[in-house]
Symmetry: C2
Subunit: 432 residues, 2 copies
Amino acid sequence: MVRSRLNIGIIGIGNIGLEVFKQLISNSQLSELFSIESVLVRDIKKYTNIISKDIGFENKVDIALEKLTDSEDKFFSNNNIDVIIELIGGLEPAYSFVKRALEYKKHVVTANKDLIATHIEELIKLSKKNNVKLRFEGSVGAGIPIIEVLSDMLKQNQIQKITGIINGTSNYILSSMFENSSNFENVLKEAQELGFAESDPTNDVEGFDAKFKIDILGSIAFGSRIPLKTVYVKGISEISNKDMNYAREFGYNIKLLAITERKPEGIYSSVSPALVSLAQPMSKVGGNYNAVEILGDLVGNLWIQGEGAGKNSTSSAVLGDLMGIYYGSNDDINLSKGREKYLTREEIILKNYIRLSVEDKYGVLSEISGIFSNNEISIASVIQKDIDNSSGVVDLVIMTHDSKGINFDTAIDSVSKISSVKEKPIIIRIND
Amino acid sequence: MVRSRLNIGIIGIGNIGLEVFKQLISNSQLSELFSIESVLVRDIKKYTNIISKDIGFENKVDIALEKLTDSEDKFFSNNNIDVIIELIGGLEPAYSFVKRALEYKKHVVTANKDLIATHIEELIKLSKKNNVKLRFEGSVGAGIPIIEVLSDMLKQNQIQKITGIINGTSNYILSSMFENSSNFENVLKEAQELGFAESDPTNDVEGFDAKFKIDILGSIAFGSRIPLKTVYVKGISEISNKDMNYAREFGYNIKLLAITERKPEGIYSSVSPALVSLAQPMSKVGGNYNAVEILGDLVGNLWIQGEGAGKNSTSSAVLGDLMGIYYGSNDDINLSKGREKYLTREEIILKNYIRLSVEDKYGVLSEISGIFSNNEISIASVIQKDIDNSSGVVDLVIMTHDSKGINFDTAIDSVSKISSVKEKPIIIRIND
C-alpha cells in the first residue's frame, strides 16, 4: 500500500524539538514519510537564530525557516497539517494547544507527562471523538517503549503490578549517595552543576514527576483512570547518608520506586523511597537509567530498562509515535473499565525500615518495642549504633515484618511522643 | 470501529497449544475477539483425551472436541478460518503447513524459531503476496516482546548491536555452574531431571537454538536476511568448572551470548560462550531468564528481560500476535535492504581467554608468549595454577588484548603444537 507523506506541525523548538526537527529533515527514512509543514514558536527571530546555528544543513535551513510562524490561528487552521507534535511541556498553553489540535482533527504526538497525567481521560476521549490518534510514548521513560508495550503488546495479559525507577534525577542522586557515601545536599549540588538536576529540583526529588508517570502507566495497565490524588507520594530529600549506610549493612540499596498494583481489595499506587535488596536487579539500576518491571499473568516478570531522559532517547519516542501514526498501529488505550477502589497507604500491608535518634539509656528499646507489639507490628531486626559524639544519643534502626499502614502510623505516632526519641523518625518502605 | 470475530485454526495441541486453547475459550477478553474454528491433530482420539482431561471447562469441552480434525485438506480448505496458529515446531511438516496456510490467504501465527530462521524471507514474501499477516513474536524469547520492539517501535532507530542471552537451558546450566561450582555434566543431568533440558540437549548447549534466534533478530534489525551459515556458533559443552572459577577470579561470569552487530566493514553474528564482567547487568541474568540488549542510535541502550520459555510466556506472545492481527499493527518486516557483507570470526577483533594445560617447566611460558607476540597479540594477564596432582601439569590462563581472529587462530594453532601443551586449548571470547 502506498501512503502519502504526512505533514507535520511542531510546537516548540527547545532541546527535544530541535532534535526531532533535525531528524525529520536529515534522516532519509523519515523524510520519505514526513515533511515539516509549520513550526509554531513564540519569537520567530529567536528561533531563526537557533535553527540557523544549530541545524547546519545549509540548503535545508532556508526551507525550514520559511515554516516558522508565531500565529496560533494560522498554525492550527493550516489544513495541510496532519500531525501536531507538542514539545513545550507543562500544562499551559500545552493543554489548550493539544485540545485545539485534536478539535481540528490533527493527530497529536506529545512527550508531556504533566499534561497526559492530568488530562489523559479527556484527551483520549477527544481524540477518539475526532477520529485521530493521540500518542505519548515519550511521556514515561523517554525512548523506552513502555506505553506501547502496555497498550499493545501486553493487551492479552492481566497486569498485576508495575514497579519502576522512572525519575532519572532522583536515581542519579540516590545512586551517587550509595556509591560515594556522599550526602543528599552535596550530590544534589553536583547533579545541578552537571545538568542532571534542575535549579528547582522539587518536581524530581519530591516524587511529583514519578507520580505523573506511574499514574499514566497504571491507568493504561488497569484500563481505568487512576485519580492523581490517590497516588501516595513521598520524595527522597529526607534520605540521609546514614540511612544509605544502614541499608547497605542490611544488604539493601535505597531507590525511589514508583509502584502501581492491583490487590484483591483495589488498586494501590505510590511513589516513595524503598529499600531494595541488593539481590534484586532493581537495586542495580544506576545513574540516569530508568527501569520498569511489569508483572502479567501470562508473560510473568518483564523487565525493560533504558535511557529514560535526554533529547536522543525522547526523540526516539516522538519519532516512533509518528511512525505508528503513519503505519497505523494497535495502541488503542481504553480507560473505560469504570472506577475501581483505590487504596490508601493506611490500608496497605508493608514492611518498613525506621531510624530513630534515641537517648542511650535503659528501657527505651523496651518501651518502643512495646508500642510496636501493641499495634500488632512484629519486629524483624533491630540494630543500635553509637554516634561518635558525646550527646548520649544513638541511632536505633528497626526493620519490621508485614504490618498494616494504619497500625504502623499509630505506632510511629506514639513512638514520636516518647521523650527519649529526639528527632522525627525516618521511615522507608522495604520492597519485597 | 466494530470488527467481527476472527476464527482460529490451531495446528498442534501440545504444551503451548493447550494453553493457547484454554486462554481462547476461558479469557473473556479473548473469547470476545476470537473463536476456535478447527484444530488439526494427528490422532483425534489421543487429543480428545488430552483436552477432556486437561481443560476441564466442562460445558466448553464438548464444543471444543467437535472442532478436532485429522484431515489436512478439510482444515486448510475451511473458508471460515481467518488465522492459523502453528504450534507443532520443527521444520516439517510445519513448513508445508505454514506455506499452505499463507497460500490459502490465512494469517499465520507461529512460535517456531527453526522454521522462521530457515525460511523467513520466503514466508514473509508469501504473506505479503497473499496480503495476510505472518507473526512470530514467540519464536525469540517467548513472551518478551522483542520482535515487535525491533520491527515496530524502534523503526526510527539505526540499530547498531544486539546482544542476548536467548537460550534458557544453557543459561540455567551456566548459572548453576557459577553459583554452585558444579561441573557441566552434573548440572546438565540435574537440568534434565528438572525438565529444564531435553534428553538430547544438543540444540541448546551447542548454540543452534540461539543461532536461529539471533539470526531472526539480526535480520529484522538490519533489514536484510542474515544467512544462517554466516553466524559463527560455539556451544558451552567445553566449559568446565575450572574456567568458571578462573573467570570468577578475574571478575567475570561466563554466559552464552548471541550477538549481531553492524560494523563499518559488515555484519558479524555469533553465538558463543563469553566472559562477561560481573559489573555488567548481562552477567546477572540468572536461571531461565532471557535478556536482550539493543543499541540504537537514538534510543541508546535498551534492555529487555523476561521469562524466555514456558507455556504461559509463549502463549502470551502467540495471543499478542493474534491481538495484533485483530487490531492491525505496524509490524511490517522489511528484508529488502539487499545483501550486506557478512564478516567471519577470522576478520573480527576480539579479546580472548585461553586456558592451557602445560608441563610445569622453564621456558614454556616464554615460548607461548613468543608465539602470541609474533602474531601481533598482546597479553593482558597470565596466571599459572598448580593442579593438585603429581602429573607435573599446570593450568596457564591467559587473557589477551584486542586481536584479529585470523592472527589469534594462527597463534593458537602453533601453541597447540608445542609438545609441553598437553590438551586442546580452551578459548572463550571476552565480552567488552
